[in-house]
């Protein structure tokens, strides 16, 4: 992979261009926000059932705009890594407020994990605040629930039809970062997808980060506001190839597709690591793989307190 700064020969070009493996890196930044997050561990008799529960619990959790939270599987856990010695997964949930996070967590665990055969759920982190996990779900036991304190942590045993649902009483609250992103501009949809799949695979290896959208990729990047008063956000027309020529487009003629990768992370370091992993993966495919540019979404820097400049991350 080559990275160089190309100084303009023409005086009409005002900025230095940065090219990595033939991919132009925009001099822009991803604007991210402070979010509230938690990590939970779901275990089951087999990895298959743990993932069934996790996929249900973390499904329909792509954007806080209408899902209430953003969530995803952080990684799979071997039996040696889980509290009860069974296979499991660690998942992260992000929301805009502690109250909303607590609501989403309880609903999703109650409807998707408690209901799933053989599962148990545990806190995956500690924090300065505690979020109810099994604390209220225990009442499903109708008086037959049992409390157990193991190593100073309280768990609830709730009788269900396959035996017991075991849930730790609380999990921790993490002050995290959500909305890190970058845009992949490619010569074709197939090439954009290939690059994004590589990026998402790289991000998946980063501890403490998830890409919450389907397959980790978004095609419907948005801008703030709309011509319709009821809508807070609408399509990012500057990056829509079909509107090129009809709007003030950001796309050069050779760009056929733009896909976005959105990242939520437990802290600033995890976000930087995940973005670097994703950007590196795309750049590794490079211009030979049809990648033209990398850009990022922001709101002018006025809304989010975290700014991730692509060139600094790739440096």
């Amino acid at each position: 992979m080559r990275l160089w700064r190309e100084h303009p020969h023409s005086p009409c070009l005002r900025e230095t261009r940065v090219i990595v493996n033939g991919v132009s890196i925009d001099d822009t930044y991803a604007e991210a926000f402070g979010m509230k997050a938690t990590r939970i561990v779901i275990t089951a008799a087999s990895m298959t059932w743990a993932k069934h529960a996790a996929n249900a619990a973390f499904g329909f959790a792509t954007s806080v705009i209408a899902c209430g939270c953003e969530a995803g599987i952080e990684r799979e856990l071997s039996p040696e890594e889980t509290p009860d010695g069974r296979p499991g997964v660690a998942g992260l949930l992000f929301a805009v407020s502690t109250k909303e996070l607590a609501k989403q967590l309880e609903r999703r665990v109650g409807q998707c994990v408690l209901t799933c055969p053989t599962t148990a759920v545990f806190a995956g982190c500690t924090g300065d605040e505690a979020l109810p996990l099994g604390k209220n779900l225990r009442y499903f036991g109708d008086g037959w629930q049992m409390s157990k304190v193991v190593a100073g942590r309280r768990y609830w045993r709730i009788p269900v039809m396959d035996g017991e649902f075991l849930a730790e009483e609380t999990t921790g609250l993490l002050r995290s970062v959500g909305g890190g992103n970058f845009l992949v501009l490619a010569r074709s949809t197939a090439q954009a997808l290939t690059a994004c799949e590589a990026a998402v695979a790289a991000i998946a290896k980063t501890p403490g980060a998830i890409a919450p959208f389907p397959g980790g990729v978004v095609r419907s990047g948005s801008k703030v506001g709309s011509k319709y008063k009821a809508l807070p956000a609408s399509t990012n027309d500057a990056f829509c190839p079909t509107l090129r020529g009809a709007t003030k487009s950001e796309l050069s003629p050779e760009v056929e597709t733009v896909l976005e990768i959105v990242i939520d992370a437990v802290d600033d370091d995890a976000m930087k690591t995940a973005m670097r992993a994703g950007l590196d993966a795309v750049c590794a495919i490079g211009a030979d793989g049809g990648i033209v540019r990398l850009s990022a979404g922001n709101y002018g820097g006025k809304l989010g307190q975290f700014h991730y400049r692509l060139r600094e991350i790739l440096a």
Binding site: G85, A120, W144, M146, K148, V149, V150, G163, E164, L166
Partner: protein
């Protein structure tokens, strides 16, 4: 950095009450100060220095070498630090203990861990009767912490126990877990009769079925319990070999005459 050491000079005829001889109290004191501390031998006040040779050390660590003497009340009301008994302990060991770690290299007498609220008590040998039971006059027994017994335990193990974890690698006597209110008892070698008599809540996990299962416990059949995996991981770190190596156990709920929300689990 070594802690304070108390070595018995000569074994007295009577029993020595070691109440108040704790790591947190001896920490920072000189040998002369420690020797002046009061003890009671058969109820008669004596200076600690008359019974023990004192080597003052630093930190909240205390080693007691009983040399075969009968030392009662060791670790009573202990809150922090580390107390090691290089030999056997007498009665009332770790009564009302709230924190820290207490290790007994030999056996312990009756009424150990009565009213214990926290910390960790390890007994390498056998424990006497009424381990983790209630203090005399109290309504509830052990209320927290961990007790690990490498050998056997006597009768009335965990009587009226309310919280905490007791691990016994050997056997327990009669009325194991009687009148338990909550908490967890694990006895790898099984126990005598009247197991779980009057059990209200709490779990009695036995590595072998008791001599006779109480009639007032309902048979819930064989179940797989995820929390046993959780408990096993914790227990193995404290006392390896105490927990059954399976999460699939035969469950008996009881005592049905006392609400029936407790359980006896046997492989």
């Amino acid at each position: 950095m070594s802690g304070t050491t108390l070595s018995l000079r000569t074994a007295p005829a009577g029993r020595i009450d070691m109440t108040g001889v704790l790591p947190e109290i001896l920490a920072g004191r000189t040998a002369a100060e420690i020797e002046k501390m009061p003890l009671r031998v058969d109820g008669v006040p004596v200076a600690l220095g008359e019974c023990f040779a004192v080597t003052a050390g630093e930190g909240e660590a205390l080693t007691i070498r009983p040399e075969g003497a009968r030392l009662d009340g060791l670790g009573r009301d202990m809150r922090t630090g580390m107390l090691r008994v290089e030999g056997a302990a007498g009665h009332y060991l770790a009564q009302g203990m709230r924190g820290g770690e207490l290790i007994v290299d030999g056996d312990a007498g009756d009424c150990a861990a009565n009213g214990m609220r926290g910390g960790c008590l390890r007994i390498a040998g056998n424990a006497g009767d009424w381990l983790a039971a209630a203090l005399i006059g109290d309504r509830a027994g052990m209320g927290g912490g961990v007790v690990a017994v490498g050998g056997n335990a006597g009768d009335r193990l965990g009587d009226r126990m309310r919280r905490g974890l007791v691990l016994v690698r050997g056997r327990a006597g009669t009325a194991c877990g009687a009148r338990m209110r909550a908490g967890t008892l694990v006895v790898a070698g099984g126990c005598g009769t009247l197991a779980g008599f009057g059990l209200r809540r709490g779990s009695l996990i036995l590595g072998q079925a008791p001599e006779a299962m109480p009639a007032c416990h309902g048979d819930a059949g064989i179940v797989t319990l995820a929390w046993l995996g959780l408990l096993r991981r914790h227990a193995e770190a404290i006392l390896p070999g105490a927990m059954p190596d399976t999460s699939r156990m035969h469950r008996y709920m009881g005592d049905l005459a006392f609400g029936g929300k407790g359980e006896i689990l046997v492989p």
